[in-house]
């Protein structure tokens, strides 16, 4: 069923629980009682006692739940087109909906690479026919993601790419990077880069620290990220491009980011949820699931990243969802493919940080809603906040209810989840996209 | 019934039995080998009584046990030590208790890996019967049948004593 061509949803009334309207420029927002929220024609028609008084086709009870703007993921791999053994548009958007996400940015490293308007249109067509949530394509900033030649940036933008990036692949050199920025700036495009100096990262696949020293793994030193962060910030300042740093992993990167913002440089950033939840220790049993890029680093880094989210210096938490077929991980660590199938447990991992008093609930929600929405700028979705007239993209979840991620409960095609068979807090009851139920959803 | 068994008469009987057998067979310089741990203590005692000049051998049969595939390797294995070549020697193999006969089979296999002996005489302090292999001692101090709840143990080396325990 096409998202765009669906019949308008009937009216829905959400009653009870608490409402999180969204963050503001100065605060992470607050929870308030939810007397009622009315959705008509896919938009929020009324909030508060007015809504309660009106009739609706369907009433959703939200007792003990939080009614929040839907989550927006700035980094997700749907694996389609091209990698159907790992996942596809329908399985992975269903997983996103299960995780409370109403919009996901689709990484450009598909096959073919999303480096032209034609591929963007193909992705949008697939999404329109099979996706359960909004799919926002990220275009490739260089042709074929090769890091050498500029892609047709204006064409990608016109076809609907919300930003451009180079997946996690590097550019050939700083000159190419500078020119990408300069050209993208012409069109007001946002560039998303994972900062990594490839010469310093070399053959590494784990944080260069205590665990790599003990296990004899090949390390990626902190400076592989921090020198790249500094280089990108300086070039962004010079070219005036809107720079978004994807998936920071080092404490020092957060400091540099904060400082750059203070100096008025247009730079935003995100962090993958697993970087807030795990450290290099996750590799101490050679567990190839936790082979991720950038690597899980030290506890000090983890704490600084959490603090960055708390302070709003890091705008968004992303899933960096990378579903894999079992063979991709069924190998010695170095030979396994990086990434976690994580989008379904992002909220739960975040709530564990809340339970550990590292984040407040509203700080967590800000980083999943208004934070990433601000990075992308204007959009028709209501991720940024709930108000009358906004498109009804919502997530309704019970933060205190627990569940056990595992083969019976997870819907992603990737079995490489970070948490398996352990009780976790936070169950998503409903995910609504323009008033339609994306979760719970029937199998397509 | 916990208690001790007087060991002296048993040692006397072993000594006498060995002297007689060695004489019958015309063996003038036997090579004594004790099976660790109790057999080694007994070998020391018998070597003294028989006034043998040559040092006796010590055998640790851990590498030859037939229950390796059920319980694994004995973690406290010690090197066997045979201070003589067994080839063409008349060996007296000594152990404290014989029951199933499996220990003796293992010990004989091990001895053969040092060289082919001319003969082996088996001397044990106590014979508990319950044999599972066709192995019989040539010389023994005492034949005994235990209740299933009873255990017998040689303690040593100084003084050597036999303890009977009620499990």
């Amino acid at each position: 069923m096409k998202l765009s061509s669906r019949p308008p949803a009937g009216s829905v009334k959400i009653v009870g629980g608490q409402l999180y309207r969204g963050a503001t420029a100065t605060s992470a927002g607050a929870l308030e009682a939810n007397p009622g929220l009315l959705i008509k024609n896919g938009r929020i028609a009324a909030l508060g006692p007015d809504a309660l008084a009106q009739a609706a086709d369907e009433t959703l009870m939200a007792e003990n739940c939080i009614v929040s703007p839907g989550f927006l993921d700035l980094c997700c791999n749907l694996r389609e087109p091209g990698n159907s053994q790992k996942g596809n548009m329908s399985s992975e958007t269903r997983a996103a909906a299960h995780g409370g996400f109403t919009s996901v940015c689709a990484a450009p490293d598909t096959s073919p690479v999303n480096d032209s308007g034609a591929v963007t249109n193909l992705i949008r067509d697939m999404a329109a026919s099979r996706a359960l949530v909004r799919v926002l394509p990220i275009g490739a900033v260089t042709r074929g993601l090769e890091g050498e030649l500029l892609s047709d940036m204006a064409g990608l933008q016109k076809a609907g790419c919300v930003a451009l990036g180079n997946a996690s692949r590097g550019l050939r050199n700083a000159r190419v990077l500078r020119r990408c920025m300069s050209y993208a700036q012409t069109f007001g495009l946002t560039l998303m880069f994972s900062p990594e100096n490839q010469a310093l990262a070399a053959d590494g696949y784990a944080h260069d620290g205590l665990v790599t020293t003990r296990l004899g793994l090949l390390g990626i030193p902190e400076v592989a990220e921090t020198t790249a962060v500094m280089e990108m910030i300086l070039l962004a300042q010079e070219t005036g491009v809107r720079l978004h740093l994807s998936q920071l992993s080092c404490a020092r990167s957060v400091d540099m980011l904060a400082e750059a913002r203070q100096r008025g440089i247009q730079v935003t950033a995100d962090v993958a949820m697993h970087q807030l939840a795990f450290t290099e220790d996750a590799l101490s049993g050679f567990d190839s699931r936790f082979h991720v890029r950038p690597p899980l680093r030290s506890e000090r880094d983890r704490q600084a990243l959490v603090a960055g989210v708390r302070d709003g210096v890091i705008d968004a938490i992303v899933s960096q969802h990378q579903p894999h077929e079992s063979a991709a991980k069924q190998a010695p660590l170095a030979a396994s493919e990086p990434g976690l199938s994580s989008i379904e447990v992002v909220l739960s991992l975040g709530l564990e940080r809340v339970a550990a008093n590292e984040l407040s609930l509203t700080q967590l929600l800000r980083a999943l809603t208004a934070g990433p929405a601000t990075v992308l700028g204007q959009s028709e979705a209501s991720n940024a906040g709930l108000s009358a007239g906004a498109v009804a993209d919502l997530c309704i979840f019970n933060p205190d209810q627990s569940w056990r991620p595992g083969p019976g409960t997870l819907v992603s095609a990737g079995g490489n989840g970070p948490v398996l068979e352990r009780s976790m807090p936070g169950v998503v009851h409903y995910t609504l996209v323009a008033g339609h139920k994306a979760w719970p959803s029937l199998l397509p | 019934m916990n208690g001790q068994l007087d060991i002296e008469p048993l040692l006397d009987k072993m000594e006498a039995g060995l002297r007689q057998l060695l004489q019958e067979r015309g063996v003038s310089s036997p090579a004594l080998i004790g099976i660790r741990t109790g057999g080694v203590w007994l070998a020391a005692e018998l070597a003294r009584r028989l006034q043998l000049q040559e040092p006796f051998g010590e055998l640790d049969i851990s590498f030859y046990r037939d229950d390796f595939s059920r319980i694994g390797l004995n973690p406290k294995v010690k090197p066997s030590s045979l201070p003589f070549d067994t080839a063409d020697r008349d060996v007296v193999l000594i152990d404290d208790v014989i029951m199933s006969g499996r220990t003796i089979r293992a010990a004989m296999n091990e001895i053969f890996d040092y060289g082919r002996p001319a003969s082996i005489i088996l001397a044990t302090l106590i014979d508990l019967g319950a044999r599972e292999l066709p192995v019989q001692p040539d010389v023994r101090g005492l034949a005994l049948r235990l209740e299933t709840s009873q255990r017998i143990k040689l303690r040593g080396p100084d003084p050597l004593r036999i303890e009977l325990e009620q499990a």
């Binding site: 620290g209 190998a331 | 595939s69 294995v77």
Partner: protein, 341 residues
């Protein structure tokens, strides 16, 4: 899927604490390490007999799986297995053929189907034997014969046996490890073993480019100046230097390395007079060590080779025994359940 929170140390022990794989020295206590050394002592005695063979692994099949070729190490494992009466199959598998995990797993499933009881694994990737033991063929005893930069536990244990033979005890010893610690699986295992067995000090001596980050956390001190580092040493262990290190901009030249970190008579004279000299081999004469030292009275390099067979016999028989005991235990458990039901 590799799951569970159990580290490599739980993986290699049975419930009763017997060895069932031998992957790393991490998590193995002093008592078990001492048992390995004691058992090896017994196997040294076996090596001196007319028939240097015991029947422990009779009827068992040991497969030497060398994904990285090494004639020397493979030969000692082969000889060790044969002296335990095992049937031995040698497979040299080039890494290129199995660079993808799936085919590595497939290769192993095939070998397991041939009723193999033990895999001796050498692999260029750290953690490969651990991966095999945990995820591929957990019922086959896995012996690590060197994995990437991670561990070479049999080499470290034969070095410990050599040290014990010459120094009687580990208490109070000062030991230096000199050279390319960064790339050395041997050094990592040695540092771990020396610490567990209670030496007074482990010193690593190397330039900064050949040391891993935070190496002190492994349990050693760092000395850049070898002349200073030789002081008071009871044992000096030299590591092999690969020629590629010059190309990777880690070192300027062999000549400079030898002048600064090569063990010659002058440097050795700074250690205790009875300091022993060790090297895991193969030696680069004139790069890590002067010939006169390698062949000199303080060198115990050839003892290391003899001890290698005994250590491997010990570890193979202990791990095989643990696997068999565990299988028996499982059968007993099933029998008990049947009786109950």
């Amino acid at each position: 899927m590799i799951a569970t929170a159990t580290g490599p140390h739980h993986l290699q022990l049975t419930r009763e604490g017997q060895l069932r794989h031998f992957l790393t020295l991490d998590g193995l206590g002093r008592e078990l390490l001492t048992d390995i050394l004691d058992t090896a002592d017994s196997f040294i005695e076996v090596g001196e007999r007319t028939i240097k063979k015991v029947p422990l692994l009779r009827g068992r099949t040991v497969v030497n799986l060398f994904f990285e070729s090494s004639t020397r190490t493979r030969s000692t494992f082969e000889l060790a297995a044969k002296r335990l009466s095992a049937d031995v199959l040698n497979l040299d598998i080039s890494t290129s053929a199995t660079s993808k995990g799936e085919s590595l797993a497939d290769t192993l499933y095939n070998l397991e189907a041939m009723a193999s009881d033990m895999f001796v694994v050498r692999h260029a990737q750290s953690g490969a034997p651990h991966f095999i033991a945990e995820s591929v063929t957990p019922k086959v005893a896995i012996i690590n014969a060197g994995d990437g930069r991670h561990a070479h536990p049999t080499q470290a244990m034969l070095d410990m046996l050599t040290i014990r033979q010459h120094k009687k005890t580990f208490a109070g010893l000062k030991v230096a490890i000199v050279g390319d610690v960064l790339h050395s699986r041997v050094a990592r295992s040695q540092i771990r073993a020396l610490n567990e067995l209670g030496v007074a000090e482990v010193r690593v001596i190397a330039p900064g480019t050949l040391l891993p980050r935070d190496v002190e956390a492994l349990g050693c001190t760092v000395e850049y100046d070898m002349m200073r580092g030789m002081k008071d040493l009871d044992v000096v262990i030299m590591l092999r230097l690969q020629k590629e290190r010059m190309e990777g901009a880690l070192l300027p030249s062999e000549g400079e390395f030898y002048r600064l970190y090569g063990l010659d008579r002058a440097k050795l004279a700074l250690a205790k007079p009875d300091c022993i000299v060790m090297h895991p081999g193969p030696i680069n004469r004139g790069v890590e060590i002067e010939s006169a030292v390698a062949d000199g009275p303080q060198s115990v390099i050839l003892n290391q080779v003899t001890n290698g067979i005994a250590i491997r016999m010990a570890v193979m028989s202990m791990a095989m025994g643990g696997q068999l005991a565990e299988r028996q235990q499982a059968l007993n458990d099933i029998a008990k359940q049947e009786v109950r039901s």
